[in-house]
């Protein structure tokens, strides 16, 4: 990716971050949690795909990393679920 491309990604990330911070000031109503989590996920995937170059590299790297990620999310979400964490 060119320098211009990386800077563009960084600008988008900064914009999303501003939007995230705005939830502290502006009332998003019922959209608050889904919006925040979506923005977090989008930023995460963008850094991984572009800055870490995963989108352009061999798929094996993606498999290895995302396996770890999904295993982590799955296992810890299940554990939290047994604490009734998601029922509030």
């Amino acid at each position: 990716m060119s320098t211009r491309g990386y800077v563009n990604v960084a600008v988008i990330l900064a914009a999303i971050t501003s939007l995230e911070v705005s939830t502290y000031y502006v009332d998003f109503g019922p959209l608050f949690l889904p919006a925040l989590l979506t923005m977090m996920a989008v930023k995460f995937v963008m850094v991984v795909s572009y800055f870490m170059h995963l989108k352009f590299d061999n798929k094996l790297f993606s498999w290895l990393f995302y396996t770890g990620l999904f295993l982590a999310v799955g296992v810890y979400a299940a554990a939290l679920a047994t604490f009734h964490f998601f029922l509030r």
């Binding site: 900064a14 800055f51 982590a72 296992v75």
Partner: protein, 206 residues
């Protein structure tokens, strides 16, 4: 003298001097991605512990009472930008631009140091407001999670500066651009962990 076995690849090094591998992928890069995959389990555990305990404040202040969102937002922005400068360092390394590489690595380290400085300031402020490591479950989990992250950042800064130093003395063993790229992967990982922490810990109220 004995011949080379024809069963083997003609050269075990490719044109770039890198070792030939069964997948065609670099050993170090593969190793780094495996490590990052496993680090997800580490931070996942710390984040889950925090999420479970964030509201348990038998003593001392609650999150809303101590968090300074504007301040932490600036900190987050600084770390995010350090990811950009890191990627520019990797770019420069690929172009064999030594001065550019060192420049961007140094800036990345500076931004990282700013971030850590912000964390230190934040922790000190919280402590002065009554939130210690042992004060409450919230305190213990908060400092452990962000502390581990901060430690990871610090290790990253040390690696960045060490690389600049080694680079200057042309003492990098192996591929220079690959080394920069690997440190870059580590650095970005530390950034994406913060992306999660910033949202879950700071922005979502208890």
């Amino acid at each position: 003298m004995a011949e080379t076995a024809t069963a083997q690849p003609a050269t075990a090094h490719d044109a770039h001097g890198a070792h030939v591998t069964s997948t065609g992928l670099s050993n170090v890069k593969l190793g780094m991605w495996l490590f990052l995959g496993s680090d997800c389990l580490l931070f996942g555990g710390l984040i889950s512990t925090y999420m479970l305990y964030r509201g348990r404040v038998a003593n001392g202040p609650t999150p809303e009472q101590v968090y300074d969102i504007p301040f932490t937002s600036v900190s987050s922005f600084v770390l995010l930008m350090s990811s950009l400068t890191m990627v520019l360092a990797v770019s420069a390394a690929h172009k064999r631009d030594d001065r550019g590489t060192n420049l961007w690595l140094t800036i990345t380290a500076l931004l990282g140091t700013t971030f850590v400085g912000g964390q230190v300031y934040e922790f000190t402020a919280f402590y002065n407001e009554g939130l210690g490591f042992t004060t409450s479950l919230f305190g213990s989990s908060f400092y452990t999670l962000t502390g581990f992250h901060g430690a990871h950042v610090t290790v990253g800064i040390i690696m960045l500066l060490a690389l600049v130093a080694i680079n200057k003395r042309s003492r990098v063993p192996g591929s220079k651009s690959e080394t920069v790229e690997m440190i870059g992967l580590y650095w970005h990982f530390v950034d994406i962990v913060w992306i999660i922490i910033f949202t879950l810990v700071y922005l979502i109220p208890v």
